[in-house]
Subunit: 182 residues, 4 copies
Amino acid sequence: MKIAIVYGGTRAHGNTEMLTEQAVKDLHVDRIFLKEYRIQPIEDLRHTEEGFHDIDDDYNSVIDRVLEADVLVFATPIYWYGMSGFMKNFVDRWSQTLRDSNRPRFREQMKGKTGYVIAVGGDQPLLKGLPLVLQFQHIFEFFGTQYGGYVLGEGNRPGAILEDREAMRKAELLNAVLKERV
Amino acid sequence: MKIAIVYGGTRAHGNTEMLTEQAVKDLHVDRIFLKEYRIQPIEDLRHTEEGFHDIDDDYNSVIDRVLEADVLVFATPIYWYGMSGFMKNFVDRWSQTLRDSNRPRFREQMKGKTGYVIAVGGDQPLLKGLPLVLQFQHIFEFFGTQYGGYVLGEGNRPGAILEDREAMRKAELLNAVLKERV
Amino acid sequence: MKIAIVYGGTRAHGNTEMLTEQAVKDLHVDRIFLKEYRIQPIEDLRHTEEGFHDIDDDYNSVIDRVLEADVLVFATPIYWYGMSGFMKNFVDRWSQTLRDSNRPRFREQMKGKTGYVIAVGGDQPLLKGLPLVLQFQHIFEFFGTQYGGYVLGEGNRPGAILEDREAMRKAELLNAVLKERV
Amino acid sequence: MKIAIVYGGTRAHGNTEMLTEQAVKDLHVDRIFLKEYRIQPIEDLRHTEEGFHDIDDDYNSVIDRVLEADVLVFATPIYWYGMSGFMKNFVDRWSQTLRDSNRPRFREQMKGKTGYVIAVGGDQPLLKGLPLVLQFQHIFEFFGTQYGGYVLGEGNRPGAILEDREAMRKAELLNAVLKERV
């Protein structure tokens, strides 16, 4: 079983990363730090005669790593009660991949995976992070991806997540679940 | 009373735009098409010693137009059950403005405004657009911005929104409300 | 096409009723005022050897009227951000009907229907009524019932709903839709 | 610190009870099994000249036990993606207590408390239990009650909750938190 983490944060070793690393401790994972790649926002050309054209950026190499994994962990700081713009831009591009003749099995491949959401925010994330949880519910449902679960943690200043014992413990539990699946 | 529309779409005269223009018919509005501006994603430097530094892009000129308005209409196509990446990147940058010594009254100014959300999607937007509505509930609550209302419309191919009579009618109603406020 | 309204309110001619009657104006409908019937709360006996036993109350006669309809309108005042206890007790009993050998096609029959939710509350119903909308999303999904739509109105003192022009207009629109279906 | 559990279930030693008892292990708590009391549904008389009149049932004795507690745990099986009708009927009656001259400090007293929600369901409770979590968010917000947290567990047949390790572990964590507060 292959695991890929899609990191949406911009701060190295941030709270979201700490929490997520707890969840994948001792596991071999592919870490995708979206911030390190050049990924253009989508331009909606679904309804033009020519359709989408190739974009010269890093998106394709990233989506191919995503497609290789069996388990996807979407790990994002909660920015304004949603996923980061970095992550949203990446997700938006999936609309293009859905029509990419080089990846005709995209939808079917996503269906076979299990997705997790890990998100850390500073303002009542257990409640105000729920729109993000619901958004991923619809995203996963679109593909038929199994929603494995989610961990919402609280933290603002660097390292604060370590004091959210409940979130850290949930990450440990997720770690145990993932280890069993390997 | 000044109205500004923050457009998050990428297609000119798209469904979201059609629906939104119905809501502001015969009104003087400032239309901000985010796609036409260069707006960098946020880099979270809140916790660094130096804090945020100035970004050389169009963000500041756009946020200043937003701040001049009394009524804000966030108009976005529903991409993957949320606002577009273009719009999310713009909203994310507000975290920087919250600490911008050139705009010390940002939070207070936002508090005095009324916000609306207009969003169009192709997959059961009246239900699957609700995470977006809830997200803006938290965003507006953060500032104390009044949530004036929202209009969710259904449409996929160009012009389809015109057949969503209920959404078009809601936009007309919003138009009447806005005209009374002018 | 037969329409049944399941009324969860306790006040005659209340705001919810006014709004709902606008939606079914000039249509022949079966009005079920739950308050007028004796409906026991469910007792969960799914896991006992004997299973559920017949309850001597009005539930069965009411559920049979529900089953005769093609369109179901669940009309409830928003009590504490949810449907009324009267309506919840009625819905809870569906678990018993799911195992009722006298109504073996219950699930299948519900699947063929279209459901609407009409709810009126006094505290920001367009936002705080959304948990109720989401709850019915799951309920309808369980059966495969089509979610036709929902109307959330604002009102507290008697007759106040008439001043919520947006809600009244949405009810008119729903009326037009229902008339076309007849 | 006093803890009261408001139990909405109908099955003795059901899954919800097992999960909740884990959360209050070794603590002195007042257990209120709503099913054991006679509590009438509310009749909305807020707008009549006479207002509410006394109901001859067990409600008042139960609400007084609730008011004596500092921590309230609302523990309910998830019936049709919401709290049980038993619990909803009880909550609905709060509208009457808000106008009860014998309990003039009701709202203020509720404000000083911390509330928890524990709920067990058989159909994807981590996702489909969220409307219930959101509903309590609004309920607690109404009073200013602090939302301490929630535990959603999965289980259908008797005892199944014990196999939901994640939920049981969350209940243990809650137990530790509550013990620290005592």
